[in-house]
């Protein structure tokens, strides 16, 4: 049992598990927080951004002023945003046999792995994961590619130079590993390697292990995985939720009796209760709109947005907001809204039953029908004709570095009537806002993270009782900003084993048994003797036959017959020759009896 930890981000994991003779990659999350060090990519020329002063070193050197710009005391790289890839040097990734994907947020690094490392294996994921993952990738590629940037900064990455930079650039890790975004052909090639699976489907890997996806309750098609052999069971829990939102509820029972449970993807904001945050979101939204301001919600095109739209559907009439337009702008907005309605089998029970009525499972269909919610691929085209204020705009990307959101930040940032409400928990909202400072617009942080919190985790662990728990090191201590909150860490017995980026763990479990089948003819020939009440022994002489990681005991070949003809001889050549069997002894020698016998 080995685990290679390729990502240090607890909610965007990438681990490789060596188990029996297989090499299994668990998720390949892409850490996009690196983009926060870059300047935003404006859709239209932004005089403010283009006039930012270059950064000058303390000694007056200006050689970096083309690459680095200063804005309100922060320094940003003026270049195409780059992402921090999972570790690629820890092991040869071409040896990875399969990749298991748990949800669409955790597959964003897939093209980097499948297209650059010589990977020849198979990727397993559920259908919604693939479809929505594709949308996320498409949006990402689209928002970066449509604003081409001629310049590419690399000088600042030089280790000697980086030391001189101000924080946080100085402390950025593995900058040499940062890569530009992949392209659409690479996305397509990567996705073509995916094989679709359904919940509870058992997939054999080389006869050695069996993997099974289970519903994890977090997003459409999100799954936890069980990796098991005949005598060992590893559960991989990543991004799970026990709340009643749109996806199918989490399957906890199947996680029982695990020898090892790898636990990742817990909530990133353990102190914020999602219900309270939704209330906060609605209150702030209504307050802004009633005061004549606009609301900007930076978000991913799928996931929490469905739940938010559902809450708003119930809320807008009661809050007197029926006349306020809601815009959803994303190159994949249309597909996202439509896909969500067709994955009925992946939805929670309530939504599934609606399909039989027949009604669309999500109420955003009605919002669209009644013209309360309008969606556009981008701000260009139809949107500019329909645009009315005050309004509410949902658009990406939540990092505020690319996508249509950049335009709205520039447009609305100057007025204190407007509000930007952060609902995605992946990025620090203060860091996201840094290149837009000074900002008059109100900022509200309502992170909605439905993934497991620590109370739920401790209940889950009590329920499923794994022998060992393995988790990112962040979960074994209170959050750095709230060191007194000892309730915000995993509390279990034995204490969890923790990992960090670029570490190799030997999982605390030894394999002791292997299953071997006995052929019926051989079994017939056995004569068990009862040595103790309830325990019988028999000696076995057989040939062990191993193929595809399956072991079978077969009858030993008969003693060679004298060759009758040439033809027969050739047949018996294949089997090794065996001498007649000798009786076998077992157990300890009864010394007294033995000596007496000898004396005789």
């Amino acid at each position: 049992f080995f685990q290679y930890c390729l990502s240090g981000h607890p909610t965007l994991p990438c681990n490789v598990l060596k188990f029996k003779s297989t090499t299994i990659m668990l998720d390949c999350g892409l850490d996009m927080t690196s983009t926060l060090n870059f300047l935003p990519l404006p859709l239209v020329q932004s005089p403010r951004l283009s006039k930012l002063p270059g950064w000058v070193l303390k000694d007056g050197s200006t050689f970096l002023d083309k690459e680095l710009k200063e804005c309100s005391g922060h320094v940003f790289v003026d270049s195409v945003p780059e992402f921090c890839l999972p570790e690629t040097e820890l092991l040869d990734l071409s040896t990875v046999d399969v990749i298991l994907i748990s949800n669409y947020h955790c597959m964003m690094a897939l093209p980097y792995i499948t297209e650059y490392t010589g990977f020849t294996g198979t990727v397993y994921a559920t259908e919604p994961t693939v479809q929505i993952g594709r949308l996320l990738m498409e949006e990402l590629v689209n928002s970066i590619e449509r604003v081409p940037k001629s310049q590419s900064a690399s000088m600042w990455k030089n280790k000697e130079v980086q030391r001189l930079l101000p924080a946080p650039l100085k402390d950025a890790v593995e900058v040499s590993m940062w890569r530009k975004c992949y392209t659409m052909p690479e996305v397509n090639a990567a996705l073509s390697k995916i094989q679709l699976v359904g919940y509870s489907q058992k997939i054999e890997l080389f006869g050695a292990v069996q993997v099974t996806p289970l519903s994890s309750g977090y997003a459409l098609g999100s799954s936890n995985w069980i990796i098991q052999s005949h005598y060992e069971k590893v559960s991989y829990v990543s991004g799970s939720s026990l709340l009643t939102t749109h996806p199918q509820p989490m399957d906890q029972a199947s996680l029982k009796n695990s020898d090892v449970l790898i636990l990742t993807g817990l909530t990133q904001i353990p102190t914020a209760n999602p219900d309270g945050m939704v209330g906060e979101f609605c209150s702030n939204l209504a307050m802004t709109v009633r005061n004549g301001g606009n609301v900007l919600v930076p978000c991913y095109p799928s996931g929490v947005i469905y739940d938010l739209l559902e809450c708003l559907y119930q809320y807008i009439d009661s809050a007197g907001l029926s006349n306020v337009p809601f815009y959803f702008i994303s190159p994949v907005a249309n597909s996202s809204l439509e896909f969500s309605q067709i994955f009925a089998e992946w939805l929670c029970h309530n939504k599934q039953t609606k399909v039989y009525l027949p009604e669309p499972p999500f109420p955003h269909a009605e919002l669209i029908q009644t013209n309360k919610l309008k969606h556009y691929p981008s701000i260009h085209g139809d949107f500019s004709n329909d645009f009315k204020q005050p309004c509410v705009v949902f658009t990406g990307h939540p990092s505020l570095r690319f996508g249509d959101v950049v335009h709205f930040m520039e447009l609305w940032g100057k007025s204190s009537l407007n509000t930007v409400i952060f609902t995605e928990p992946d990025f620090s909202y203060l860091d996201a806002l840094a290149p837009y400072q000074p900002l008059a617009m109100k900022c509200v942080y309502c992170p909605i993270d439905t993934r497991l919190n620590f109370i739920q985790v401790s209940k889950l662990l009590k329920e499923v009782q794994p022998l060992h728990v393995v988790c990112p090191e962040q979960y074994t201590q209170p959050p750095p900003t709230q060191s007194h909150r000892t309730d915000l860490m995993i509390d279990c017995q034995p204490p969890p084993m923790s990992y960090r980026r670029a570490e190799v763990l030997t999982l605390p479990y030894k394999r002791r048994y292997e299953k071997i089948e006995i052929m019926p003819e051989l079994a017939d020939s056995l004569v068990p003797l009862e040595v103790k009440p309830g325990i019988s022994l028999a000696t076995v002489s057989a040939v062990l036959h191993t193929k595809d990681n399956k072991h079978v005991l077969q009858l030993p070949p008969k003693p060679p017959q004298p060759p009758a003809s040439k033809k027969r001889k050739r047949v018996s050549d294949d089997v090794p020759e065996c001498k007649p069997l000798k009786p076998l002894l077992s157990g300890s020698i009864p010394v007294d009896q033995f000596v007496q016998t000898l004396e005789k």
């Binding site: 102190t271 914020a272 209760n273 309270g276 945050m277 939704v278 209330g279 906060e280 609605c282 209150s283 702030n284 209504a286 307050m287 009633r290 005061n291 809450c311 119930q314 809320y315 009439d317 009661s318 809050a319 007197g320 309502c446 709230q482 060191s483 007194h484 909150r485 000892t486 309730d487």
Partner: protein, 836 residues
């Protein structure tokens, strides 16, 4: 007993004793017993049984039944007990051998029906009822009844067990007080026989090893000391004190928890509380030996006493405050704050271990907080609490609960871990906080207290109920702050900042998707305006925020409770925005006419009752405070409201409108001059008729009279009563009592005919249906002359008495009860006839 009842009773008895009848309705039987009890108490002689031989016959015939139904048997036992309550009737029933067959060894006691709890309960109640004289006492004691009652203390039915214990107390008291001329004293300890039997059994069970027997006796003693304050109780106590004391220290007997109520009842009895020494030493020992959870109720009980030695009181206070002290110590650096308690008097180990356990921490804290709230709610508190430390401790608890405190000690970390997001503790702590603020002014801590409260108000994790309580505490706190800032300019600055923060968060909460939150936000706003509307700082902060506009928006909220609260809030807001001449200049956004129109629209169209009731109450308040403008405006206003409400389906709205009318009448009469108090009748017949005319004309124009007379016949009684009260008061202004008689004859004028009709109609109570809208039937409700005549002619007193009779006054009579019972029997007879 009336003749009719006496005639009905034999048939009823026969019916009840008839085994073919189905079990009678229990409530009927209960009512019947109540009636017999009244009759028996009223006349203790033999008359009742002599005049109604059917009663004894009934008892005998039930006893003769082979298998009486449990409910009838239980009824019979109780009836016999009621009858036997007087010595005469007791002897009579004895002679008939009924009592012994009912309550003796050969009665139900040893038959199969005893299995039924209602029979056992009837037996105990019957005995209790008869236990008013010595013959009854002896009858029971000699017949072995005491043993039965002792056993019944452990009855599976809690009602029976409790009644048995109560009965023993009653018998003991009766025996001691009736069977001796001189009650036993410490010197001469001679108990009468029956009492001796009971006391012996109490002593035996206290010494037994059976936990249940000990429990019964302790319960019995608790009851005895709670109800009997005679000196002989001390003699009894001296015999058992040692034994009871041993329960505190002996671990083998689990009786500690039973001692709390016993000791408290004793402490309240003058027999014990005045004694020096032993008893209070036992209380002190109990406070030491009981677990913190058991000792809490004892401590709070002691602290409520006015007569109590000071050292015991201090000890009790120590026990009560210990959890709060532990919290304070666990949260702070050593020596940062003095704890609540002096370390030498408290041994915190037991409390600390309870607080660091997940299962007991929250419940111990909630119990302590509930006790504190109970103490703080007393008007006169016999003990001085360490208010400042208490407040600090409460703030610490609240901060533990929202995870805002990083504790310095390991105990603190454990407690904080347990308490985070514990709503129960949050709610209790906020309740105590509100009670504390009611009681005491805090100068130094108020700033940090606001920080804690604001954190709760702002946090999206605060649950709606906790938020509501936070609002209540904040409102109290703001009122206190205002008192402080009167005297100190430094506080004025702080107040301004705090108010800004409060309105900012209120603004957000008013937009919450959760209706409970919107509702409690509006309630909070209403309270704030009520208490702080005269403060300039407050008014400025309020009017410069978005709160007033958001509040008006909520008049259209989809939730009716929220609309109602919004109406109240807008009603209060109006005192600042419209009615105050000194109100700061505000834009056109606050338009008085618009607001009134909006409220009137709610009154006439809102489908739910709550908002409509709220509007009426707001209007009444405005009128009471004289805010509706000059008299003519007011007249139109009231008239409009009356016409809107007249046909409202909700009687509370109509009643509210009558209150408005009442205030309007007072207001008008006062404004137009004499007399000052409208309810005092004018002194002579020659009161200024000019004034009268003026009022009359106003009232007629406002269509007041048609509304009042129609309300007299309202199908909901409170409305009729209120209307009658108002009309009576009005009449008092027109007809001094001396002149009333003469004018009660309606003349032959056309108006007179109309009034006669009105009078007839009112008697039939049918006005509401046939009310003439167009002055038909000759009554012109807008004609002052007719109305004066009507007031004088109609017998409002008679109407008033009629309305005050309860609606079931006919059905409640014993005769009706007997008829009811017979009626159910009647149906059986009819059915029988059908069978043939």
């Amino acid at each position: 007993m009336t003749r009719e009842c006496a005639l009905l009773l034999p048939r009823v008895c026969a019916a009840l004793a008839d085994p073919r009848q189905p079990g009678s309705d229990d409530t009927c039987l209960e009512k019947l017993l109540d009636w017999f009890r009244d009759l028996a108490e009223f006349d203790p002689t033999m008359k009742l049984v002599e005049d109604n031989p059917c009663l004894t016959e009934f008892i005998a015939s039930v006893l003769a039944l082979p298998e009486p139904s449990p409910s009838i048997l239980s009824f019979t036992l109780r009836l016999a007990g009621i009858l036997a309550a007087s010595e005469n009737r007791f002897q009579h029933l004895q002679q008939e051998k009924l009592l012994v067959r009912l309550f003796g060894r050969d009665g139900p006691l040893n038959s199969a029906v005893w299995e039924d709890a209602s029979v056992r309960s009837g037996w105990v109640e019957g005995v209790h009822s008869m236990m008013h004289h010595q013959p009854a006492l002896h009858f029971l004691c000699n017949g072995g009844g005491i043993d039965v009652i002792f056993t019944l203390q452990g009855d599976p039915s809690l009602f029976v067990a409790s009644a048995a214990s109560q009965l023993l107390v009653h018998m003991l008291t009766l025996s001691v007080e009736s069977e001796t001329t001189k009650p036993p004293s410490t010197k001469d300890c001679h108990w009468p026989a029956c009492a001796q039997m009971i006391i012996k059994r109490i002593e035996d069970s206290l010494q037994s090893s059976s936990a249940s027997h000990i429990e019964w006796s302790l319960k019995l003693l608790t009851r005895l000391f709670g109800s009997c304050r005679a000196t002989w109780t001390e003699v009894l106590w001296l015999g058992i004190a040692k034994q009871i004391e041993s329960f505190l220290t002996e671990e083998t007997v689990q009786a500690q928890h039973m001692l709390v109520n016993l000791l408290l009842n004793m402490a309240r009895s003058p027999v014990f509380c005045d004694t020096e020494g032993n008893f209070w030493a036992l209380v002190t020992s109990a406070l030491e030996h009981l677990t913190p959870v058991q000792a809490g109720p004892l401590a709070v009980g002691i602290l409520r006493l006015y007569k109590c030695p000071q050292d015991v009181r201090i000890q009790a206070l120590t026990v009560l405050l210990q959890p709060m002290d532990c919290i304070l110590r666990a949260a702070s650096q050593p020596l940062e704050y003095a704890g609540l308690l002096d370390e030498s008097v408290s041994d915190p180990i037991a409390v600390e271990s309870l607080l660091s356990s997940k299962s007991s921490c929250a419940s111990l804290l909630c119990q302590t907080l509930a006790h504190l709230e109970e103490l703080l709610s007393l008007i006169l508190l016999p003990v001085d609490l360490p208010y400042t430390s208490l407040l600090r401790s409460l703030m610490t608890i609240l901060q533990f609960c929202n995870g805002f405190l990083s504790p310095a000690s390991p105990l603190g970390s454990t407690i904080s871990r347990i308490l985070i997001n514990c709503f129960r503790v949050q709610r209790s702590a906020l309740d105590v906080l509100a009670a504390l603020l009611e009681r005491k002014r805090y100068d130094t801590l108020i700033g940090s207290l606001f920080d804690v409260l604001l954190a709760y108000l702002e946090s999206p994790n605060t649950s709606p109920t906790v938020l509501k309580k936070t609002f209540q505490a904040t409102a109290k706190c703001l009122v206190r702050l205002q008192e402080l800032s009167y005297s100190n300019s430094q506080w004025q600055q702080a107040e301004k900042k705090i108010l800004e923060d409060v309105f900012l968060v209120l603004q957000k909460r008013l937009c919450s998707p959760c209706w409970e939150v919107r509702d409690s936000s509006l309630e909070f706003l209403t309270v704030l305006i009520k208490y702080l509307r005269d403060k300039d700082e407050f008014r400025q902060s309020l009017l410069s925020s978005e709160v007033p506009r958001l509040t008006e928006n909520l008049l259209e909220d989809p939730e009716s409770y929220v609309r109602a609260s919004a109406v109240f809030a807008v009603g209060q807001l109006a005192f600042i925005t419209y009615f105050d001449p000194e109100s700061p200049v505000i834009g056109n956004q606050y338009n008085k006419e618009n607001t009134i129109a909006k409220l009137q629209e709610i009154l006439s169209t809102d489908p739910e009752g709550f908002p409509r009731r709220a509007v009426i109450r707001v209007f009444t308040k405005w009128l009471r405070e004289g805010c509706t403008g000059q008299l003519e405006d007011t007249e139109q206003f009231v008239s409009r409201v009356i016409q809107t409400v007249e046909h409202d389906l909700d009687w509370e709205v109509r009643l509210g409108a009558l209150e408005l009318v009442e205030v309007f009448c007072i207001h008008t009469i006062c404004q137009l001059g004499l007399p000052k108090c409208p309810y005092a009748p004018v002194s002579s017949a020659v009161t200024s008729s000019i004034h009268q005319n003026e009022w009359l004309q106003i009232f007629c124009r406002a269509k007041l009279f048609s509304f009042l007379f129609r309300s007299l016949c309202d199908c909901d009684k409170p409305v009729g009563q209120k209307a009658c009260k108002i009309l009576l008061a009005l009449r008092g202004n027109f007809y001094p009592i001396s002149t009333l008689k003469d004018s009660q004859e309606a003349g032959d004028s056309p108006a007179g005919h109309g009034i006669a009709w009105l009078q007839r109609t009112l008697r039939q109570g049918s006005l509401a249906q046939n009310f003439p809208t167009d002055g038909g039937n000759g009554v012109d409700f807008q004609d002052p002359e007719s109305m004066v005549l009507a007031l004088g002619t109609i017998d409002l007193e008679e109407l008033h008495d009629e309305l005050n009779k309860s609606s079931d006054h006919v059905e409640k009579s014993p005769q009706s009860l007997l008829q009811d019972i017979l009626a159910t029997v009647g149906t059986i007879e009819e059915n029988e006839a059908d069978c043939y």
